[in-house]
């Protein structure tokens, strides 16, 4: 066994109303990847933040290479040898890519920043992740995936003893994940201790040497990967027995009941975003949108929902031509969209869980018809139960929820409007396995109740599991539409790859 680099003992962190971390011991060894697992709200991010000085800890010690460390800010943590990619992209939107990688560590000559050097370093750091892009671009102009890679490039650009990655792959596609893993393995082989948080079990089993499981802020245990089968891991995370988890897993896939068309597009086009697109969305059906990142899936969603304006083509709702000039129009027609980038496009961080949940419904009803408080409370209660949202109460600020639980509130916000057509852009990103199953079950239920659903998902297995029909996009155009028995992972992959290979 290799030598421990990062050792924590009895880490404790209380927030008003919750003990987010309760006397947790944790140890990361050099030359190993250590996965930190747990359900949404289990305390993974809190452990990381208590360690790196974002949150002052209430109790406990930490050591790096045997030296006690007690950082009071991320800056001090970095100086102590801990480099961190926090959950959600935490970069500066208005600065360039190069600057986001070098901020705070720019080399200077006579006090002047050497921009050339910064650009070279940024390019090199990105190249290690297999990414080549104009490093002078403003960060906010880059896709979420690129932003996530930039954050990782920044974290790997310094000499550190410990590298912490909190859900670094939530927005990456398979190729990018592979590049990242190559880099992580190389750093591991150089002797770094790596802490990895993810809800993708495949990734955890591909990368990790050891797993620590947290539940409700408490340590469940530390296990070598080889001795912890998946089912057992999930059972530990959920606090149930293996048999119970097994029983949860086997649920038959309900047959699709084909409904009438609700919304259809012909030749819908937007320059640089969507090439002429014909789509038909039917009641009681989940239409999956597959394709690589950047293939135009999000752009299609934005176009359907009236966030962007089409240049050409027509949209019909129940046979009548419609054109949505704004999301408000789309909402009035019974559409709903949960966006991909929840941090900047969905969360109202300074409002409570209740306010975040009712805001879309309130907008739909009209601003002057205040939803009665009793109804609001009932909605919150219903959805927290249905989706298993973990909060200390409806009046908790949403920004204090764990990332996965924020995602669930956003989903609830749109479900509360009782839409006819629901567009979900990566709805299960950052959500734990248990909750993911809950959400999939909920989707099936809504579908059977007659909702038309557009489901965007980068994970081909998840996509084919939940869709009755799949439209595959490539380079902003629909290249295939799969139905019936063609709705399976291999067919999706083949459709994505077909013309790329040719």
């Amino acid at each position: 066994m290799s030598a421990p680099i990062l050792v924590c003992r009895g880490l404790t962190k209380r927030f008003p109303g919750v003990v987010a971390l309760d006397g947790v011991d944790f140890c990361a060894r050099g030359g190993e990847v250590h996965a930190l697992m747990g359900e949404n709200g289990a305390g993974k991010s809190t452990l990381i933040k208590a360690l790196t000085g974002v949150h002052p800890r209430d109790a406990g010690q930490a050591e790096v290479d045997g030296r006690p460390v007690h950082p009071r800010s991320p800056r001090e943590a970095e100086a102590a040898g801990i480099s961190t990619v926090y959950q959600e992209v935490n970069l500066i939107p208005d600065l360039s890519v190069a600057e986001n990688i070098c901020l705070g560590r720019q080399r200077t000559r006579l006090g002047f920043i050497r921009w050339g050097d910064a650009r070279t370093r940024a390019r090199a750091a990105l190249a290690r992740l297999g990414l080549e892009l104009d490093v002078e671009r403003t960060l906010s102009e880059c896709s979420i995936a690129v932003q996530q890679l930039v954050a990782i490039a920044r974290a790997t650009d310094i000499d550190a003893r410990v590298l912490i990655l909190d859900e670094p792959t939530s927005s990456l596609d398979a190729g990018e994940v592979a590049q990242l893993f190559a880099v992580v393995r190389r750093l591991r082989d150089q002797g770094l201790a790596i802490v990895f948080v993810s809800h993708f079990l495949d990734q955890v089993y591909a990368l990790a040497d050891r797993i620590t499981v947290l539940r409700n802020g408490r340590l469940v245990g530390e296990f070598p990967v080889a001795e912890l089968p998946r089912l057992q891991l999930v059972a530990h995370m959920m606090g149930r027995s293996v048999d119970e988890v097994e029983a949860l897993r086997h649920r038959e896939r309900p047959a699709a009941a084909p409904g009438e068309p609700l919304l259809s597009t012909r030749g819908l086009t937007r320059r640089h975003a969507v090439l002429p697109l014909d789509l038909e969305l039917r009641r009681g059906e989940v239409l999956g949108l597959g394709g690589l990142l950047g293939s135009g899936r999000t752009e299609v969603a934005r176009l359907l929902f009236g966030l962007d304006r089409a240049d050409a083509g027509e949209t019909r709702l129940e046979g009548r031509p419609v054109s949505f000039h704004s999301p408000a129009d789309a909402m009035r027609a019974g559409l709903a969209l949960t966006p991909e980038d929840r941090k900047t496009q969905a969360i109202l961080p300074n409002l409570t869980v209740r306010e975040n949940l009712v805001v879309a419904l309130q907008a739909r009803r009209g601003l002057w018809k205040q939803i009665p408080r009793a109804e609001q409370d009932r909605l919150v209660a219903d959805f927290t139960r249905a989706l298993g949202i973990k909060t200390s109460g409806p009046e908790q600020l949403i920004r204090n929820l764990s990332g996965g639980n924020q995602q669930k509130v956003i989903l609830a916000r749109w479900l509360a409007t009782e839409p006819r057509l629901l567009i979900l852009d990566e709805p299960t990103r950052g959500i734990d396995v248990g909750a993911q199953a809950d959400i999939e079950r909920l989707l099936a239920k809504l579908r059977d109740e007659g909702l038309a659903i557009v489901f965007i998902c980068a994970d081909t297995a998840e996509l084919s599991r939940n869709s009755q029909r799949i439209a595959v996009l490539r380079d902003h155009a629909k290249v295939a539409e799969l139905t019936g028995s063609d709705v399976n992972e291999q067919a999706v992959m083949r459709a994505i790859a077909r013309e790329t290979a040719a």
């Binding site: 974002v54 800010s73 926090y86 935490n90 970069l91 500066i92 600057e99 920043i113 880059c142 896709s143």
Partner: protein
């Protein structure tokens, strides 16, 4: 820089637009009025607006950091009276100026510390600072006080000015303005502090997680703002040869307007120091035009500035909205 490769980013458009407005105003003035194009008008444009420009550079830094400084005008006025009064009491001018600058920096640091340590809104803290400095100015001396000292009479206005012809000289204040703008631009673009200020203004929570020293950056940026306000006050005494506690009311709003017209976003994180100079010159040119016109009420300056502000805010909103999918 490779000019062939030069393609202005969306963020630069507002600055280029205001540069265009500046050139149009100047060309328009030259066409409409005889003598408008003379060197004298140009030199006065810089000299007359130097104190505003210097203070506006400070205000721009504060805005870039995501804050606001409402105490600018009051600090400028206070500095002027303090200097006039100290010199009037027989103190050497350089000592008076040094004390005034020290006061400005200290005053800014105090406001910055309050904002940071108690997480107070900058608007309220600097509003308090405005009342405080204005009140203190009246305590120092209740009315206008002229400065009568060879250092001011000869050294600043003659020795330190650069003659271009027999009856025309570039005043020292114009050089001070250019120097402050260049130094400010370099600080914003090439120093770690400057970049930290922009990061802070763009996203404070991210900046913290990226290791930007939030507290010291915040305190320093208000210190710089206070210092440059005081320096603006010093430059104003060179120009007016007096100090007046009731003067420069609302100067902070001119400074903010100049920054915004110059392409700085009021929400912070985006902006250019040279843009602020352009903004100041536009304000100055509008005033000059109104004076040349002769019959217009001087309030037309305000009306024009107001209209221009609307145009630029809309322009910024439009360029900011552009999004790459």
């Amino acid at each position: 820089m490779n000019l062939a490769k030069f393609r202005p980013s969306a963020r630069l458009w507002p600055v280029l637009a205001s540069l265009g407005v500046l050139i149009l105003l100047y060309a328009g003035g030259c066409l409409l009025f005889e003598n408008f194009g003379s060197l004298r008008v140009l030199i006065n444009l810089f000299g007359d607006n130097a104190f505003l420009g210097v203070a506006a550079v400070g205000a721009t830094f504060v805005i870039l950091s995501g804050g606001i400084d409402l105490s600018v005008g009051a600090v400028v006025a206070f500095t002027g009276v303090l200097i006039a009064s100290l010199i009037g009491h027989g103190q050497p001018p350089l000592l008076a100026i040094g004390l005034a600058l020290g006061f400005g920096a200290g005053f800014g640091a105090l406001m910055g510390a309050l904002i940071h340590l108690y997480a107070l809104p900058p608007f309220l803290v600097t509003l308090g600072g405005m009342f405080l400095a204005r009140g203190l100015a009246f305590v120092v001396h209740p009315e206008s006080l002229s400065i009568d000292h060879p250092f001011y009479g000869e050294f600043i206005s003659q020795t330190l000015s650069v003659p271009v012809s027999r009856r025309l000289a570039i005043p020292f204040t114009a050089f001070a303005l250019i120097a402050v703008v260049l130094a400010g631009a370099a600080l914003a673009r090439w120093s770690r502090f400057g970049r930290n200020v922009l990061a802070l203004g763009s996203s404070e929570s991210s900046a913290r997680l990226m290791g930007v020293p939030i507290g010291s950056t915040k305190i320093l940026v208000y210190t710089l703002g206070g210092f440059l306000s005081a320096l603006g006050g010093v430059v104003a005494t060179f120009y007016m040869q007096s100090g007046n506690p009731a003067s420069f009311v609302g100067l902070e709003l001119d400074a903010i307007a100049a920054a915004v017209i110059g392409g700085t976003l009021l929400r912070g994180g985006v902006g250019y120091i040279p843009g602020t100079l352009v903004g100041v010159l536009i304000l100055g040119l509008i005033q000059t035009l109104v004076i040349f016109q002769g019959t217009l009420n001087s309030w037309w300056t305000r009306i024009a500035v107001g209209g221009l502000l609307f145009v630029f805010i809309v322009l910024q909103q439009l360029t900011a909205r552009r999004r790459v999918g």
